[in-house]
C-alpha cells in the first residue's frame, strides 16, 4: 500500500492510520491528501475509518462522563489497603513486566501475585518462615546480646556466615528504607546452619533478614505471612531460602524485602577468592 512520490517517502499504512487519527504533521498530511486525491478507493476507506473512529468515541463517551463511583476514589482505596489486603475477585497472574520496570526484578509483581493466588506453597519456605519468626521473637527483644557479631565487623560477619552456609551472603544495605545494620548471628536450623542479620531504625524498631539453605527448591516468588503481629516476606532464590521479618506494615516490609532481594540477586555466585 505504498505509492511512489518524487517529493517524499512513499505513503504507507502508518501514514494513513495517522491521517485517520489526525496525528500527521502538516507537510505529511499534504502528501497523503495528494495521494488520496489520486486513489479514490483509498480515500473512501480512510473516510470510513475516520467516521467509525468517531462513532466509537461517541458510543463510549458516556462512560467517561459518569461521576466516579466512591469505591474508586483513591483516598478510599488507600484506606482499604492500610487494613488487611482485600482479596480481589480476579486472580491476576502474569504480565507484570511493566510493574517491575522500576525495580529491575520480578519481585514486586510476584509478591502481588502471591497475595492473590497463593500457589505451590514451598514447604521449605514455610519452615524457614516459622523459624525466622521464632528467631525474630527471640532476638529482637534481646537487650544485651541481640547480635553475635556487630556491624562494625561487617566484612568478617558476612564472610563467616557465607562460609557456614556454603553460599555467598551479604548483609543487605537497607539505609534507603531507614534501617541500619546492627550485626548478625549464626542459628541452628534443623541439621543446617542459618544466618540472621538484624537492623534497627534508630527508634527501637528492628527487623531481621534470615537466610538458610533452600534445599533443592526452585526459585519462588514472594510469600507474605503474618503471625501474631509479626510480618514476614519469604522467597527462595539460587538455593537459599530468605525471610525478611518485622513488626511493620506490609508495604514497608515489602520495600525492605525487595531491596534485600535485589542485593542478594546481584551477588556473584562464585565468591571472590573462592574461600567458601
Amino acid at each position: 500500500m505504498t505509492h511512489e512520490r518524487p517529493d517524499g517517502p512513499p505513503i504507507g499504512e502508518d501514514d494513513l492510520q495517522a491521517y485517520v487519527d489526525g496525528r500527521l504533521p502538516a507537510s505529511r498530511r499534504e502528501a497523503v491528501d495528494a495521494y488520496l486525491a489520486v486513489y479514490p478507493a483509498a480515500a473512501a476507506q480512510v473516510a470510513l475509518e475516520a467516521e467509525q473512529r468517531n462513532l466509537l468515541r461517541a458510543r463510549l463517551s458516556f462512560k467517561a462522563q459518569e461521576p466516579i463511583p466512591a469505591r474508586l476514589r483513591v483516598a478510599n482505596i488507600m484506606a482499604d489497603q492500610s487494613r488487611e489486603p482485600r482479596l480481589p475477585s480476579r486472580a491476576i497472574a502474569a504480565a507484570l513486566a511493566w510493574l517491575v520496570i522500576g525495580i529491575g526484578t520480578g519481585a514486586a509483581g510476584m509478591a502481588w501475585y502471591e497475595r492473590l493466588a497463593p500457589l505451590g506453597p514451598a514447604a521449605t519456605a514455610d519452615h524457614a518462615t516459622s523459624d525466622a519468626i521464632t528467631a525474630y521473637r527471640t532476638y529482637v527483644g534481646e537487650r544485651l546480646h541481640p547480635v553475635e557479631v556487630a556491624a562494625d565487623q561487617e566484612a568478617h560477619l558476612t564472610q563467616w556466615l557465607s562460609r557456614r552456609l556454603g553460599k555467598p551472603l551479604l548483609a543487605p544495605n537497607l539505609t534507603a528504607q531507614g534501617y541500619q545494620l546492627m550485626g548478625g548471628r549464626l542459628l541452628p536450623a534443623g541439621s543446617e546452619p542459618a544466618a540472621m542479620f538484624m537492623y534497627d531504625d534508630g527508634k527501637g524498631n528492628r527487623l531481621t533478614v534470615y537466610a538458610r539453605s533452600g534445599g533443592s527448591g526452585e526459585a519462588t516468588s514472594f510469600r507474605f505471612e503474618v503471625q501474631e503481629g509479626v510480618s514476614a516476606f519469604s522467597w527462595i532464590d539460587k538455593g537459599l531460602s530468605y525471610v525478611v521479618t518485622g513488626r511493620i506494615d506490609r508495604d514497608r516490609l515489602l520495600s525492605v524485602a525487595e531491596a534485600a532481594y535485589r542485593q542478594f540477586d546481584a551477588l556473584p555466585q562464585t565468591p571472590a577468592g573462592g574461600k567458601l
Binding site: Q45, E49, R53, K63, I68, P69, R73, R90, I92, I103
Partner: protein, 169 residues
C-alpha cells in the same frame, strides 16, 4: 498521599471507559479499574519517576484484563475471540441493513489485541508510542495492528457483504 490522588484521579474516567469497552459490564468494569488502582497505589514507589503515568496505568489494566481472560479460557468458560474470526457475520437485522449496526458489535468482532489498540489510540487518545508501551509491542507492529483492526471493522460494519469483494482486491 494527596499527590497520588491528584495524579491518579484524572486518569480514572479514561480507565473506566477502556475497562467498560473491554468487559461490557458496569460492575465488572469498575472491578477491573479498582484492581488497577490498587495495584498502582501498592507499587507507586516502584514506578519509575520519568515513566509515563498514563501508559503505565493502562498497561496495568490491560495486563489484568488479559490475565483474567487467560484464566477463564483455561477454565473453558470463554470462547477464544480468535475463533470468531472465521465465523461469517449473522444475517443483518433490519436496522443493521439500514446501516445502523452498533459499532460495539464491530469492536466485539475483533481479537483482543486489535480491540485494545483501537481503543487506546482511537478512543483514549494515547500516542502511538504510549500504545506501544501499553501493548509491549514495537511501534511498527502497533501501526500495522491498528491498520488491520480498522480494516476488519470496516468489513464488519459492511455486514459481511463486502468481505468477499475485498478479499480479491
Amino acid at each position: 498521599m494527596n499527590e497520588i490522588a491528584a495524579l491518579l484521579e484524572p486518569q480514572i474516567p479514561g480507565l473506566r471507559r477502556y475497562a467498560w469497552a473491554l468487559v461490557r459490564d458496569d460492575e465488572a468494569a469498575d472491578d477491573l479499574v479498582q484492581d488497577t488502582l490498587e495495584r498502582a497505589i501498592a507499587h507507586w514507589a516502584q514506578r519509575r519517576q520519568d515513566a509515563d503515568l498514563r501508559a503505565w496505568l493502562f498497561a496495568i489494566q490491560r495486563n489484568l484484563f488479559i490475565s483474567e481472560l487467560r484464566r477463564r479460557k483455561r477454565r473453558g468458560s470463554q470462547v477464544d475471540p480468535e475463533i470468531l474470526d472465521g465465523v461469517p457475520a449473522p444475517d443483518p437485522r433490519p436496522d443493521e441493513a439500514a446501516g445502523l449496526r452498533d459499532i460495539l458489535a464491530g469492536l466485539d468482532a475483533l481479537p483482543e489485541e486489535q480491540r485494545s489498540v483501537l481503543l487506546l489510540v482511537g478512543v483514549e487518545d494515547l500516542s502511538y508510542e504510549q500504545a506501544a508501551r501499553v501493548l509491549g509491542l514495537p511501534i511498527g507492529t502497533v501501526m500495522s495492528r491498528l491498520s488491520r483492526a480498522r480494516e476488519k471493522m470496516r468489513r464488519f460494519m459492511d455486514g459481511g457483504r463486502g468481505a468477499v469483494l475485498r478479499r480479491i482486491k
